[in-house]
């Protein structure tokens, strides 16, 4: 198709959208959604000049009873009121109460009879566990009973005298609880029992009454712990004495203070060696751990740990632990990366765990802040992955024969990177997990992806690349939630809180902002909010403020709606400039007419009709029969000369440039406005990629046209050729239309009866 281009603007088309009662334009600023900036949190996303946060320091003595599987503890909490407010009462978290018989998390579980499909399902439902904290007392440090009330998973202490701004208060709490068997009732912490040898691995967390956050956003944190939304905790300093069987090895948040009392001289020497080594050094070997498993000491040892400026404290204990460690040199400090695992974790764990911890610290430090704590620990647990400051519990267990599948290996690497990465989000950049899961899981999954890709080229990351989110985001929206949904109310927890935000950040980095702008802004956010309590607005604002990019449209679409990306290339029109030169134009017309499809009757008549009447009788041919419509005559040439005389040399050159104009019509079918990434393939086999910012949709959010001018003819166009926007329907991205294969078409049956390591072993036999 070739048309004369007429340059005019249809003003009416500029004002078709969103002008009725309310401004629904997708580029509308987020002023109505975000809280008003104030002295605590600025419009730039930084902490304000009167930003404050509370502090809670703990001195704890805890005893782990390996015979009864119980925890008993006594703590002295010193709470410092840095807020400008007077506090009449204090709130603490009692997370263990989620396992109490009367816990809300059990009551709110929706059930149907078909859930009890077999006897084990019934047994699980009927299983009784005496969980939850048994609070012995809450007293002042001088021994006076304090008035307190327990509301499910929270405990309120009523103060005799309000705690004034700038004042602090200390008090004692004594408690105990029964440790849960993770295999039977689940949980982020608990014990794993090794029946064959009658041994336990304890991963102990949320094990003491902890102060709630009080801040300028929520006042006292007031959401109960229902099991999904995790934690919101103030920073503080911890001194913790952990008493365990004498043959146990303890891994813990913080630095070990009494190595002389709990480690042998040989172990202390190995530890010193590890502190200078850039590869793992065994502090407890597998042989030593296996030896320890054989007997059970009746004596106890107390391990003393100290941790500064942490928001929580966890530990693990077992006589089964192998322990290795190495040093990691970060730009500003040296850190110890360590792993604790039973023989069941080998050979995977001795080969990878500590090295993965070290790698994670290096990469996360590059994108956020230098890891600020002295140690980072990965503890083996059967299948879960859970994080606490400086320590995390990670799955990834090889098969009993010592082999493992690739899936197990990458599952283990991924979970260690993820959980160690949680040191940064939310342990240091301390967002409120109970309100916003995405602020720690989403940001962490994003940096996890970067870390995985730096571990190994082509690392099979589960989340991060845009194309992986397409199935979740497209189609029926009946049961998906915006990212900005409270943690307890999210449909599709993993995709919503982990996958989608990680993908969104990846798209910002790769497509919307570019790596340099994104990385600077992301690091700025991390530095601003390290050891503080950021909110979503602080993140959104910092990313814009530090990059100089208005991202309100992006936050609105990706975080506040369930819209998806589906940009269709609906139509392509091809134009060339009419040169007005009759020699050129008539020849071109002749060529085009010759190319036209021929009617079958005309074609057959060429041979079937031997001679027409006018072929027999020349007299029948008049002017019209003899005229050559493609012939150029004098008048044509004179008309062309007149046109040329009115044009400047530049205009004439442009007229003869033989450029190709393509008008492309795009439709935003999914609702999410996104940059247009377009690849044009030319007749000579070359390609050109054009990147157009999302603002191209700013006047009409749903239908736009754009003209592209090329020297060469285009053979095809493709939208999102590098799969970088999460487009859910690639079938409407191409011109000419391309049929996208379904997964079934792609199916090639591949099955293995053994993992590759087992096969290799068999081959050697």
């Amino acid at each position: 198709m070739r048309k004369l281009i007429v340059l005019f603007v249809t003003l009416g088309s500029l004002c078709t959208y969103g002008q009725k009662e309310y401004n629904n334009n997708k580029f509308k600023q987020l002023h109505e959604e975000l809280p008003t900036p104030n002295v605590y949190r600025t419009a730039s996303g930084a902490p304000g000049h009167e930003y404050y946060q509370q502090q809670a320091n703990y001195k704890i003595d805890v005893v782990l009873d390996d015979k009864k599987q119980t925890i008993s503890g006594k703590e002295t909490i010193t709470y410092i009121n840095n807020s400008p407010d007077e506090l009449g009462y204090l709130w603490l978290q009692l997370d263990q109460n989620v396992r109490a018989e009367d816990s809300d998390s059990k009551l709110i579980t929706v059930e149907k009879m078909e859930d009890f499909y077999n006897i084990s399902a019934v047994q699980r439902r009927m299983f009784k566990f005496d969980g939850g904290f048994k609070i012995d007392y809450v007293k002042t440090t001088s021994g006076k009973e304090m008035s307190y009330a327990i509301n499910k998973t929270m405990l309120r202490i009523d103060l005799d005298k309000p705690l004034a701004s700038g004042q602090k208060i200390s008090f004692d709490i004594k408690w105990m609880y029964n440790i849960n068997d993770r295999a039977k009732i689940g949980g982020r912490s608990g014990f794993e029992y090794f029946e064959k040898e009658d041994n336990y691995i304890y991963t102990i967390a949320q094990w003491f009454p902890r102060m709630c956050v009080y801040n300028d956003v929520e006042g006292w944190q007031n959401k109960q712990f229902l099991g999904r939304g995790e934690f919101s905790l103030p920073f503080g300093d911890y001194d913790v004495n952990i008493t365990v069987p004498a043959d146990h090895v303890v891994a813990s948040t913080g630095e070990l203070q009494n190595t002389n009392e709990v480690l042998t001289a040989e172990q202390r020497n190995r530890f010193k060696k590890a502190a200078e080594s850039d590869s793992p050094v065994f502090i407890v070997t597998q042989e030593e751990a296996e030896e320890a498993e054989k007997e059970k000491s009746n004596k106890t040892k107390t391990w003393r740990f100290s941790a500064n400026n942490v928001r929580d404290f966890a530990f693990a204990s077992s006589r089964k632990f192998i322990w290795d460690a190495q040093s990691v040199q970060l730009p500003s400090r040296k850190v110890m990366a360590m792993s604790y695992y039973p023989k069941e974790g080998n050979p995977l764990w001795e080969r990878y765990s500590t090295k993965v911890v070290a790698h994670t610290l290096e990469v996360y430090s590059k994108y956020t802040i230098d890891y600020p704590y002295p140690v980072a620990i990965s503890v083996h647990s059967d299948r879960i992955g859970m994080e606490y400051p400086m320590i995390c519990f990670n799955g990834g267990r090889p098969e009993a024969d010592g082999t493992y599948s690739e899936r197990t290996k990458y599952g283990m690497l991924g979970v260690i990177i993820h959980e160690v990465g949680h040191n940064f989000f939310p342990m240091i950049i301390n967002s409120d997990e109970r309100q916003w899961t995405w602020m720690d899981e989403g940001l962490n999954t994003f940096v996890q992806y970067l870390t995985e890709q730096e571990w190994e080229r082509g690392y099979p990351s589960r989340r991060g690349p845009a194309y992986l989110i397409a199935n979740y985001m497209g189609g029926d929206k009946a049961r998906i939630s915006p990212i900005m949904t409270n943690s307890e109310s999210i449909w599709q927890f993993g995709n919503n809180a982990y996958g989608k935000p990680a993908t969104a950040l990846n798209i910002l980095r790769e497509t919307v902002m570019g790596r340099e702008l994104f990385d600077y802004a992301f690091k700025q956010y991390s530095e601003r909010w390290a050891f503080k309590h950021p909110t979503p607005a602080d993140f959104f604002r910092t990313m814009e403020d530090a990059s100089g990019v208005d991202l309100d449209w992006f936050w609105r679409g990706w975080f506040y709606t369930t819209d998806h990306v589906d940009i269709a290339l609906n139509n392509v029109k091809w134009f060339q400039l009419n040169t007005e030169n009759p020699e050129v134009e008539k020849a071109w017309q002749k060529e085009q007419d010759a190319k036209k499809d021929k009617f079958v009757g005309d074609e057959r008549n060429k041979t079937e009709i031997k001679q027409t009447k006018n072929e027999l009788d020349e007299d029948l041919n008049d002017f019209y029969n003899k005229r050559d419509i493609y012939a150029v005559d004098k008048i044509d040439r004179e008309d062309y000369d007149k046109i040329k005389s009115r044009l400047s040399a530049e205009e004439l050159e442009l007229l003869n440039s033989n450029k190709n104009f393509y008008q492309l019509d795009f439709e935003n079918k999914g609702g999410l406005v996104m940059p247009l990434i377009l690849r044009a393939s030319f007749i000579d086999g070359t390609e050109e990629v054009i990147r157009i910012p999302a603002e191209v949709w700013k006047m009409d959010n749903y239908n736009i046209s754009k003209v592209f001018i090329f020297e060469k003819e285009v053979t095809s166009f493709r939208v999102d050729p590098f799969l970088e926007t999460g487009d859910t329907d690639l079938g409407n991205n191409a011109w000419p239309r391309e049929v996208q294969p379904t997964r079934y078409d792609l199916f090639r049956e591949r099955k293995m009866n053994e993992n590759p390591m087992q096969r290799a072993k068999r081959a050697q036999e």
Binding site: T109, E114, I185, I384, M386, V415, G474, D729, G731
Partner: protein, 159 residues
């Protein structure tokens, strides 16, 4: 937090998602279906039902476990033409990749393309209350999408 195994009472798991694509093959007159999920979700689901698959990628088509898998997938994905009989699906095979994605491939018995079908897609919902399943039906290059949750695991698809 990432949890690699189902937790009882507390919903800690991070996946709970299956995605099906279904299309009628006009040349062979069968429905072709692929169902994508997470391998460890399915393994744990089967374990909860008393079938220990181990690592699913090691199971061969001739193994007894394969028939258990086929039965489970067929129980979890049921297509019934309106005023017709339940379609029978054969599990042609499955794939597991290093991202832990598990995809089942099924074909129906020979039939016609129905204008209206009832679909029950409750795969794994009895183990994972938060399981959400989604399906795209592809017809003449266009996709129709349905979402299934435990409270609404039956939907009608009209072409």
């Amino acid at each position: 937090m990432i949890t690699l195994v189902v937790q009882i009472f507390i919903a800690l798991h991070t996946y709970f998602f299956a995605f099906a694509e279904m299309e009628f093959n006009k040349e062979t007159n069968v429905y072709e279906v692929s169902i994508s999920s997470i391998a460890h979700d399915f393994e744990n689901h089967m374990k909860k039902k008393g079938v220990n698959l181990g690592h699913i990628e090691k199971i061969k088509k001739t193994d007894t476990l394969f028939s258990y898998i086929e039965r489970e997938v067929n129980n979890g994905f049921i297509v019934t033409p309106v005023n017709g009989e339940v379609l029978s699906f054969k599990l042609e095979g499955f794939e597991v990749d290093l991202k832990d994605n598990l995809t089942f491939f099924l074909t129906s018995n020979k039939t016609v393309e129905f204008k209206e079908v009832n679909i029950s897609f409750q795969l794994m919902m009895e183990t994972f209350p938060d399981q959400q399943n989604k399906m795209n039906y592809i017809h003449n290059g266009e996709k129709k999408s349905l979402t299934f949750i435990k409270a609404k695991s039956n939907r009608k698809l009209s072409l």
